[in-house]
């Protein structure tokens, strides 16, 4: 549909609301409509731009000079309204602030540092999987997708507490807050004071274990690179982005394999496919569906003029299934070369923890592949209805052990 916005310019418009319940339950028909409406589309109900096409999403993610993150990566514009929490030095910042923060985390999360985590991740994966496969029927969210990341990742960071469910509540808040102030936001924020206090306390140097990724961040304070308060915000980034995301990625992976048994057979017969299989899960059922950028100047996208300081929604889940870029995008295929998916974002803000996520999920999938003949749904999965995340609250499955 064509319409006029502001000055005399014709733009593609759409009545799609990417935060409506029907969209969040099943985004894929809406994704198609959004992509087909144009390279960039004005969403009338929300008053923001949106794109679901791969080419535009990729271009925008790789041009931080024009499409900044300091305006927030949700629908609200930090340049115009105050955020509910102090902005992240990483997610919600631009160079040079961002570069300084990112360099510290690049050091802490270096390939060498991540290699050292493999053994502990593997031991926990074996423990979790062994307990489940013997029983056969379980909830893949409550019994597998949650306990494994909730053990290995906070352990790696240096969280001493063993009761860690609050981290899930925090991720739920932060990512729901990227959407509008709807009922999902209100529900997620119900325990905000208590949850924020818990997480803030866990980010302090004295609370963290003396050895771990958190303690490594604080070494940058000793080196005079950041203040103590900035280090706490960087540790907060771990705790925000490192838990829900991998939990949901594991849940989505199990769902994909339950739905596509022939793909599980490929992985089972060759567990070395685990890493590539995870990339296809990220493309096919992207746990993180949307984020926003804010224009720093007036710009033209594929012939559409966009003003300065306007918000653009990037539907990365839609871009990951854009038939203009992917061959047969609706097919789940673990043998597909998918290095270009945007499930982790791209460019300078590409997920800083993506190599840990790859390790976590490669390890759990390869341990499962060695033990499990097939995975079957054992009841109706319950979807999480969330402004940003695509996930399940419950995923009953039956796993048949290999002989």
């Amino acid at each position: 549909m064509a319409g006029t916005v502001g000055a005399q310019r014709t733009v593609a418009t759409s009545g799609i609301d990417p935060f409506s319940r029907s969209y969040l339950e099943d985004p894929y028909p809406f994704h198609e409509e959004l992509r087909d409406a144009g390279p960039v589309v004005w969403l009338e109900d929300l008053g923001v731009w949106a794109t679901g096409r791969y080419e535009q999403v990729q271009t925008i993610l790789n041009d931080w000079q024009t499409y900044c993150s300091s305006g927030g990566v949700g629908i609200s514009n930090f340049h115009k309204e105050k955020n509910w929490r102090p902005p992240s030095l990483l997610l919600e910042s631009d160079p040079p602030v961002h570069t300084r923060a990112r360099a510290i985390l690049a050091r802490v999360l270096s390939p060498a540092a991540i290699r050292r985590l493999r053994e502990a991740f593997h031991a926990e994966a074996v423990k979790v999987v062994s307990a489940l496969v013997d029983g056969g029927r379980f909830d893949a969210m409550a019994d597998l997708a949650k306990p494994y990341p909730l053990k290995v990742f906070p352990d790696a960071v240096g969280i001493v507490d063993q009761d860690r469910e609050t981290l899930i509540a925090y991720g739920d808040m932060v990512f729901n807050a990227l959407g509008p102030r709807n009922d999902l936001y209100a529900a997620a924020m119900a325990r905000a004071d208590e949850v924020v206090a818990w997480v803030t306390a866990r980010c302090q140097r004295g609370t963290l274990a003396p050895v771990g990724l958190g303690a490594d961040v604080y070494k940058a304070v000793d080196a005079g690179e950041v203040t103590e308060a900035e280090a706490a915000l960087l540790v907060r980034s771990f705790l925000t982005a490192g838990v829900d995301t991998t939990i949901n990625a594991i849940g989505n992976a199990i769902f994909c394999f339950a739905q596509h048994p022939e793909q599980w057979r490929l992985l089972r017969d060759d567990p070395s496919r685990a890493r590539a299989a995870f990339e296809e899960v990220m493309r096919f059922e992207s746990p993180f569906q949307t984020f926003f950028r804010t224009t720093t100047r007036a710009v033209e996208i594929a012939g559409t003029a966009i003003g300065a300081d306007e918000k653009i929604l990037l539907a990365v889940g839609a871009a990951n299934r854009d038939p203009r870029f992917w061959a047969d995008p609706g097919r789940f295929d673990v043998s597909r070369p998918v290095i270009k998916h945007v499930g982790f974002g791209a460019g300078i803000h590409g997920c800083v923890g993506q190599m840990i996520a790859r390790l976590e999920i490669e390890v759990i999938l390869s341990v499962l592949a060695a033990r499990v003949e097939r995975i079957e749904l054992d009841g109706t999965p319950q979807r999480l209805i969330h402004n940003t995340l695509r996930a399940f609250t419950s995923l009953p499955v039956r796993m048949v052990a290999r002989h």
Binding site: T99, A103, I104, A106, S110, F344, I348, G350, R358
Partner: protein, 107 residues
């Protein structure tokens, strides 16, 4: 289109015409050049698109930022003074003829 040459550790090489605006890493991946893994897709987080830049081209490259510097500290093959991450080098007309060496391993 600018021509970029990728020299392999075994002495063979691939020369490709690369569209301006994409990175030396993306050019290699699109062109099927072996030895560039680029698992993180260009986010400077995996250090698996490491290259040795031909000395005479070093000065023509965009300066290295702090993130790239940190990543190069943990490359699988040894870091040398001419080490760069190919995902951080955007191809433009000024780099027509660029030669980069690919290390013997990235993982």
């Amino acid at each position: 289109m600018p021509k970029i040459t990728y020299r392999h550790a075994d002495g063979t090489q691939d020369s490709l015409d690369i569209s301006p605006g994409i990175s030396v890493m993306q050019g290699a991946i699109s062109g099927g050049v072996k030895g560039i893994v680029a698992e993180c897709g260009g986010a400077a987080m995996c250090a698996t698109c490491h290259v040795y830049v031909d000395q005479k081209w070093l000065a023509a490259l965009p300066p290295m930022n702090a993130v790239e510097h940190e990543m190069l500290e943990t490359t699988a093959a040894e870091r040398r003074p001419n080490s760069r991450l190919s995902c951080q080098i955007k191809v433009g007309p000024d780099l027509d003829g660029l030669v980069v060496g690919i290390p013997d391993r990235q993982l």
